[in-house]
Symmetry: C2
Subunit: 229 residues, 2 copies
């Protein structure tokens, strides 16, 4: 699949949100660490839509991978972002005002990966897999690889374990992510994923997340099994 | 107080646990950022002793600094460490087995500082102050400056804000920390702090934390106001 050292037989923890990207990562990990044990963690951080967590559980069960839902009540206590605060409207695709979108939860991915590392540490696992992509960088600076390199270093030093944060989608376009899912045999399971910021199913088709997803499938020339159902 | 650039008038967030070190840091911040607004955050992460959180609240009120208690339920869900898991015995001073003590909560300080940064981000604050000291490095690798430098970089990149993590105690001995508290006029408030791992008051005097504290005061030639009361 790639030219990096053979990691088959190693164990890994996948951060599984229940969306398209993290689900593709789960199947990437099952391929990359073939023969090893894969675990998945899903964060219940007060996101508006329980549907996302339900999707993660179902996808993990479907893939025969243990799934642990870890609660995070801290972001809601810090408050003030559209993904966890019911009082703030989710902006449309072009409504991002200022430098960062209203859906930005400061530090979210750093916290997710630090908890994933703590979870992995308890189990003697070195490999973390997550779905961040540079495509999202303009909106979410904690998605870029440079941020994760710094975090990887902090985790290595702070937990005294040689963690690697794998981000197989980092430099892929949405089209390429769809093609990767196809190559991994993960297309059918895409029907189980959740993407819509508004929590609708079938997806609203209008929010930024829905539009990004639709464009990826369209450019790949593949029907989205979620929309088709 | 030091030769770094003048930061008076800047605002800062202090991570206040209610212990001796973070309380000294609070007073350090009040001196260093004189004229600025100081806020404090305290984490309720399932530590065995509510007394620690009560101490933080009282100390902040005494110092006239707003205090926000932020809940963290995630460590308890990940499980398996002596500071949050009632099923695991707290080891005595010399009982640390293996590379890391049973009281090590993997990633704790990384999570604390990332949340403090998220809290500061919402308020437009750049300065974070925390009580980590290299003295604790052998037991807690997330206390060393090298770890925090990597985290500072991750926070800068991930939250797009020029954070500085101030650790005024980093290179001080426990004796020097006691002398710093004295110089800052913070000795009386030490009677309000909580240190004992066993949650006893007056402190048990036997656990690793109590012994470390007692040695610091003894070497400084100062009576510990907590023990004297």
């Amino acid at each position: 699949m790639n030219s990096e050292p053979d990691k088959s037989g190693d164990n890994a923890v996948v951060v599984l949100s229940g969306g398209q990207d993290s689900t593709t990562c789960l199947y990437w990990a099952l391929d990359r660490f073939r023969g090893g044990a894969i675990e998945s963690v899903t964060f219940d951080y007060g996101q508006r839509h329980r549907r996302e967590i339900d999707a993660a559980r179902k996808i993990a069960a479907h893939a025969n991978v243990p799934n642990t839902v870890l609660p995070i009540d801290t972001f809601a206590a810090i408050g003030g972002d559209a993904l966890t605060d019911a009082g703030i409207a989710v902006p449309g695709a072009d409504a991002s005002q200022g430098a960062l979108p209203a859906t930005f939860v400061p530090g979210r991915n750093l916290v997710f990966l630090t908890y994933a590392a703590a979870f992995a540490w308890k189990r003697g696992i070195d490999h973390l897999v997550a779905g961040m992509a540079q495509t999202d960088y303009s909106g979410y600076p904690d998605c870029r690889r440079e941020t994760l390199d710094a975090l990887e270093r902090a985790l290595e030093l702070g937990l005294e374990r040689n963690f690697t944060i794998h981000t197989p989608l980092m430099h892929l376009t949405k089209k390429e992510t769809v093609l990767l899912a196809r190559d991994l045999g993960a297309l059918p399971v895409m029907a189980m994923t959740h993407t819509c910021y508004k929590g609708e199913r079938p997806p609203c088709g209008d929010c930024a997340a829905c539009r990004l997803r639709a464009r990826g499938f369209a450019e790949a020339g593949i029907d989205d099994p979620l929309v088709a159902t």
